[in-house]
Amino acid sequence: MDWSRRKILKTTPLAAAAIAAPHLWLPMSSDAWGATLKKGEPIKVGLLFSLTGALAVPEEDSTLVMQYAIDEINRNGGVAGHEIQPIIVDAKSDFNVYAEKAKELILRNKVIAIFGCYTSASRKSILPAVMSQNSLLYYPTCYEGAECTQNTICTGPLANQHSKDLIPYMVQNFGKKVFFVGSNYVWPKESNKNAKVWLNAAGGELVGEEYIPLGSSEFGPILNKIRDAKPNFIFSTVVGASDISLHKQFKQEGFKVDSMPIASLTTGEIETRAMGNEFGAGHFLSAPYFQGIDNPTNHKFVESFLKSKYGKNGVTHYNMEETYISAYVFKQGLEAAAQKAGGIDGVTSRMIRDASGGVKIEDNISPEGLIWIDDQNFNTWLKPKIGQCQADGSFKIVKQAESQVAPDPYSIYPDAGVCTSVGLKAPDGKLRVNVI
């Protein structure tokens, strides 16, 4: 062939266009890339948690309890006669790795759903991949809301559910004045915005608000400010290792739990064990689940989980339980989708998601009691409970919501609109999909 200069000049733009914009000629709809289920083949799901690095403490437990839940489902006949096959990935506490591994799970491993993340930062880093492939993310812990995607299901409490009962309870029992302490990132700040709404409603007064850098263990200056402000109680959204330092230094600096307890959204059984029971005793936590919840389902769950090979850390806590029920939300959503499609063949991630609205996990499966998935915003209706830490490190439930509280991701941003199953509906009627 004669490669004249003119011919090369003519064909180059075409080739460049073909490389730059492959969707013009490749069959690149999301159906072609994302996974669909096939009859007789195992159902592949990705477990995308950090097994190493700073986030490993909570997320290793999430992986373990997911494996336990999947084993349990498989032992009892799987989903519509099919076995769930977990693909376990280590995200190494690195947000780039989260994004990369999420893509890999969806495109290479062809998983039908991903269970993953513990922090909002990691969730936000994998959502673009999940949304562009129309895949499905189960986010099994609490978060701040203000998101409306068509590819996620969340089984933890939203900011609007989390402190709704806690703040009025504390104001009533300890006094009006409160000091907010949080880690310096998005979840504590958004949670505090919600808490202020409840505080105003309860007639409380905010006497100070401080944020500590993530991972910092020096609470001296903040505790000095708290001493000066003399609140009746402290409301804490401090996470991780810092949370343990806060409780330790609280007692070491001479603060008394009886006159100024910490009401936390994070300090559960595992944190209490790490700091020592004497530092945790007397403080309060709001969560949908405690290890000590007294019902037969929970007794069975705690006993058989701790006996299994996944129970090596010796504790169950709210984050693990929210992860555990997410496996059953997936199971029932998939069964509903399969029923609608007349069989498991050809079921896609999006079909499971659409069929999950209104899915109920009854109290014979869910250790925290009956919960269900909202059919509009796909967060969870649940009962937040207030527990007080006892001298032995267990929590005694002192108050429980009378009925399930509705999740509302935009409770403090009414101007943004309402999250519906097809997207965020703005007050002016405009519909936006996948808002993060």
């Binding site: 490993a56 200056p221 070491q252």
Partner: protein
């Protein structure tokens, strides 16, 4: 400006004029108004000393290893972590009381440091950049090793009842544990200074620091000096670990939080013991006072900014010794 003006920021008075500040002195009629003005800033300054002692105890081992041998030990944070785990293991498996865990952590981590120096570091003295990489690799290995042995969940070190309380001296409020850390830091710094400036071994170390070959020609076994110095630095990190494990948390990854602080102190101080003392004092006070006047996050920002500016004008640190660098 009178101190009371300094305290009023954001237009909000920090306290009611008749506020009864501290239970101790607040009852004394004359002390009332005086303490109301001075108390917060005095408390912040005293807290600054405590923060400084925590920074210093975390940095001391690194300062010795960097100052004397010139090795940039990236595994320093992991030595701290090993100290914490040593205390945890000795306490929970052998029932050793906490106060005995501290010297035990020194011995165990010093021994690990000794093994590391003999097995790896001594081959790299002539290649400082390679020690940087090698010790970083060691830090990763140590973290994973501990994770595999003890699991990745946080561990708990029990301390005597005494350390869980506080003392009230007038308007000053201090936790016993902070006082203990402060006192132990002073003891360790004094002991280290004594060792380096008042003993035969110290003289040998300083001779080797100034000129290794010349010292060797006078019959000093430089190899042995390096080995013992490295072990000493590791052991001091171990002591720091057993204290920091009580102050904060015991985790395989806990070291990374302290290694940055430790490097800051050593770099600002210029690698000498005196320099580290002054540098940690300054950083501690700055952090405490700035955090009191503004907030934690802004205090960090200002602190690191000040350090960058300082290093722009004194790249070798506050007290850079005049010596022949290897």
């Amino acid at each position: 400006m009178p101190p009371s003006r300094l305290l009023k920021h954001k237009g909000r008075p920090r306290h009611a004029p008749d506020a009864q500040w501290r239970r101790g002195i607040g009852d004394v009629a004359l002390g009332n108004s005086l303490s109301a003005d001075i108390a917060p800033i005095a408390n912040a300054l005293i807290l600054g000393l405590s923060i400084a002692s925590i920074w210093l105890i975390a940095a001391l081992g690194l300062a010795i290893i960097y100052g004397a041998i010139g090795v940039i030990n990236m595994a320093h944070g992991e030595f701290i972590m090993l100290g914490a785990y040593t205390s945890y293991a000795l306490q929970s498996f052998f029932g050793l009381p906490f106060l005995l865990c501290i010297p035990a952590a020194f011995i165990v981590v010093a021994f690990i440091g000794l093994l590391l120096e003999r097995g790896l570091i001594r081959y790299l003295y002539k290649r400082p950049l390679d020690t940087l990489l090698a010790t970083w690799g060691v830090s990763l290995v140590l973290t994973q090793l501990v994770r595999l042995t003890f699991g990745s969940d946080p561990k708990y070190i029990a301390v005597p009842e005494m350390f869980q309380s506080n003392v009230q001296l007038g308007f000053v409020n201090l936790s016993v544990l902070r006082i203990f850390v402060f006192a132990l830091t002073i003891v360790l710094v004094a002991a280290t200074a004594f060792l380096f400036y008042r003993t035969r071994f110290g003289m040998q170390v300083r001779a080797v620091m100034q000129n290794k070959e010349m010292a060797a020609s006078f019959g000093i076994n430089a190899d042995r000096v390096y080995m013992l110095t490295f072990a000493l630095g590791a052991g001091l990190a171990g002591v720091a670990g057993s204290l920091l494990g009580v102050l904060a948390i015991v985790l395989p990854t806990m070291g990374t939080a302290y290694v940055v602080q430790a490097f800051l102190v050593v770099v600002v101080g210029g690698g000498t013991i005196l320099g580290s003392v002054v540098a940690s004092g300054l950083t501690g006070e700055f952090q405490s006072v700035l955090a009191y006047v503004t907030n934690e996050t802004f205090a960090r920002f200002l602190l690191y900014l000040l350090i960058v500016v300082l290093l722009r004008f004194r790249p070798a640190g506050l007290f850079a010794p005049a010596k022949a660098r290897r």
